[in-house]
């Protein structure tokens, strides 16, 4: 079970990243848990200065941009 965390305060880009990650995970058939991290202090504790960001099992993989589905698949697999 992968823990996928979307870090962001809820701007439109965060929603788009969430959708993309969801799609990538579903296409892989990956067993996962999606968590939205909206608390600023928690976001900052990841060392992230740009949102939206994606952390896989606690490790930041994306910050400030929205990668393609293929790239995301490689990151979460």
């Amino acid at each position: 079970m992968k823990k996928l965390q979307i870090l962001g305060t809820g701007c439109s880009k965060c929603k788009r990243l969430t959708e993309q990650v969801e799609q990538a995970a579903n296409e892989l058939g990956l067993e996962h848990e999606m968590v939205k991290v909206t608390d600023l202090q928690e976001i900052i504790s990841f060392g992230v200065m740009r949102t939206p960001a994606l952390a896989v099992d606690g490790q930041v993989k994306v910050a400030g941009n929205i990668p393609s589905i293929d790239e995301l698949k490689r990151m979460i697999a």
């Binding site: 962001g8 965060c14 900052i44 504790s45 990841f46 992230v48 200065m49 990668p67």
Partner: protein
């Protein structure tokens, strides 16, 4: 151990360098095609207007159509090229890198550096708070952080190159130098005012995680992809505003008498600059979207200082960003920020109206 890691990272990128990948070659070809098409635009627009639509250059509708058919693809092509370049550049100049450079710098030097780096560092207003805390917690002084926060949206590289394309290097240089100057002085002033107590306390105590270092191992393919991704993102967001803006510009170009706009935004009227700034605050546009409006205003003889003040106010003093910053700044500091930046823009506006 550390050396081994470095070596490991370097080897694959060396291999990539020895033979340019397919994407790099494709990109070079695309650039050449871009260059060719860009050069054909004037003759294309006059051909469509006069031969295809059979409109005479002497009629209003003819000159408006020619203006639109030339300007719309020109601005969009410039936009795509610049956004692509900046998107690639931004995979090198990240906020994390900037923070490393600014941490521990003295105030005056820091203000200058932060303002210059702010021009090139990626920054979207929804990231304002994490960025602010990331800087302050790493020991970047408050005033220096503000210099960065002011310069980043104010001197927008997209606006800069669009200004260059539409009005020439003089206007672009004025915009760049005054924008940086305002960021330096406003940030320095905020630093002098010692307003640290108007930052929400939790910001200083926040546990800042270590830099994930995402951009260090990127290949040229990755960076090209970043550029393309930026083009998709920005162009899909602003193309409509640009078309509308140029259409408005075209209709003014053809129809409205030249002194109509100038009469109520004349440089003789002292209140035109403050009015332009006040009008700009609730308006929220990114820098690329505002350029066509700027174009239309200048074309109709509104004084350059007034137009510049309006544009800076729209992009640097935005209501949504202030609301986001309220999470970490107390009202008094936000008002000071608006006041200091507004005053700087006011002075720039008056200065240019006086000089030009």
């Amino acid at each position: 151990m550390k050396n081994e890691l470095l070596l490991e990272r370097r080897l694959p990128s060396k291999r990539r360098w020895s033979w340019p990948s397919r994407n790099v070659l494709l990109m070079t070809g695309a650039l050449a095609i871009w260059w060719f098409l860009y050069g054909q635009l004037p003759s294309f627009s006059s051909w469509v207007t006069h031969s295809l639509l059979r409109l005479s250059a002497d009629t209003h509708i003819g000159s408006a159509a020619e203006f639109f058919i030339y300007e719309a693809p020109k601005v969009l092509m410039l936009l795509a090229l610049v956004v692509f370049g900046v998107g690639m550049l931004r995979s090198f100049v990240t906020p994390e890198w900037t923070r490393k450079i600014l941490a521990g710098k003295r105030e005056s030097v820091g203000n200058v550096l932060a303002s210059v780096l702010g021009v090139f560092t990626p920054f979207c207003s929804c990231s304002a708070v994490p960025l602010f805390i990331g800087f302050v917690a790493a020991g970047v002084p408050l005033g220096v952080t503000f210099s960065f926060l002011i310069a980043a949206p104010m001197v927008n590289e997209v606006a800069l190159v669009l200004l260059f394309g539409l009005f020439g290097w003089r206007v672009a240089a004025l915009y760049l130098s005054t924008g940086i100057l305002i960021a330096i002085i406003a940030g320095w002033t905020i630093g002098r005012l010692h307003m640290e107590k108007y930052v929400e306390e939790w910001a200083f105590k926040a546990q800042v995680g270590s830099d994930p270092g995402l951009e260090t191992g990127l290949s040229w393919d990755d960076r090209i992809n970043r550029g393309l991704q930026a083009v998709r993102e920005v162009v899909s967001k602003v193309w409509m505003y640009i078309i509308i803006g140029i259409a408005v510009g075209a209709s003014i170009h053809g129809y409205v008498p030249a002194d109509f706009m100038a009469s109520f935004m004349d440089k003789g009227a002292w209140w035109s600059v403050p009015l332009a700034i006040l009008l700009g605050i609730p308006m929220y546009s990114n820098a690329a979207g505002i350029i066509p409006v700027v174009h239309a205003l200048l074309e109709k003889g509104v004084a350059l200082g007034t137009v510049l003040a309006f544009m800076m106010s729209v992009i640097a003093l935005s209501l949504p960003e202030m609301i986001i910053l309220r999470k970490v700044l107390k009202l008094r500091l936000i008002l000071t920020f608006v006041g200091v930046v507004g005053l700087g823009i006011l002075m720039v506006g008056y200065l240019f109206n006086l000089l030009l």
